[in-house]
Amino acid sequence: MRARDNPFAAQCVQAIPYRLSGSTWEKLLDRLAALRCRAALVGPHGRGKTTLLEELARRLDERGLRTRRIVLREGDRRLSGAQRETLFRSLTARDVLLVDGAEQFGRLAWLEVRTRSRAAGGLVITSHRPGLLPTLYECRTTPELLAGIVADLVGREEAGRLPPAEDLLVRHGGNVRDALRDLYDFCAGITSSPAARTGSP
């Protein structure tokens, strides 16, 4: 199968909207407002925090707010000049700052973000652990969630020919992202070996 035809290509997976469990977008946005728009999306790797943050950004934009987003990579302990410019330049109450990967921050950098974001209308972060800000939503994964995502991507009939969602989630410790990448390899007919992949999980 060609990469462009693979239903689990990165672009297809990233286009799948986040599925809330036990809540609705109305309730989530109401809760965010109750938390004065300062909150965190928490969960371990591969639970969909980034996807949820992107969807939240879209909905906040629809409500007339202006979102400003930065993404922190492994090892980014503080803000770069460009990130400061993106987040803090000419802040108004209509701006909502979105920080993906806030658990990477060192203490001083986090203090800087909290202090300088006071002029903004809100601050929403993703983090692997709770505690930085009140938890807005905890991202969890279930076999049903993964099965639903797979069905959206390939259709129910085709999904039945793929490895079961429960087995995939167990193998990948609940990490949906890795499970979907495993399905990419399955569809592409790639036998993944440790030497074929390098990464910084």
Partner: protein
Amino acid sequence: MERIQIETRDGATAFAPGEVVEGTASWQLDKPARTVELRLFWYTQGKGDQDVGVVLTVPFPEPALQDRRSFHVVLPQGPYSFSGKLISLLWALEVVAEPGSRAGRIEIVVSPSRREIVLQPHFLVV
């Protein structure tokens, strides 16, 4: 209903590097556009994050709500359209109307053989 279309001469969609692509872009918009332009670009699809390379932009000045314009672009020498198991690279022509980010797109193939290069595993011994 809004419509943005691109048609190449003779409906050709496969080209060699350096060839000329001629055609027409037509559109019917509900709201006026400040700018309408044709973009020639390549993009990747597959297991990795997407890369996009806009090679050339042709603006259509003073676009009307309903309009039809011709274009004439020279394709670059590369990269070639190809598909492997991890990466596919595709070429496209896209007409974009702003504001509103409204677009119409057609896919084309750019390679010496005018066919997508398929990276199939092969072993050779010299």
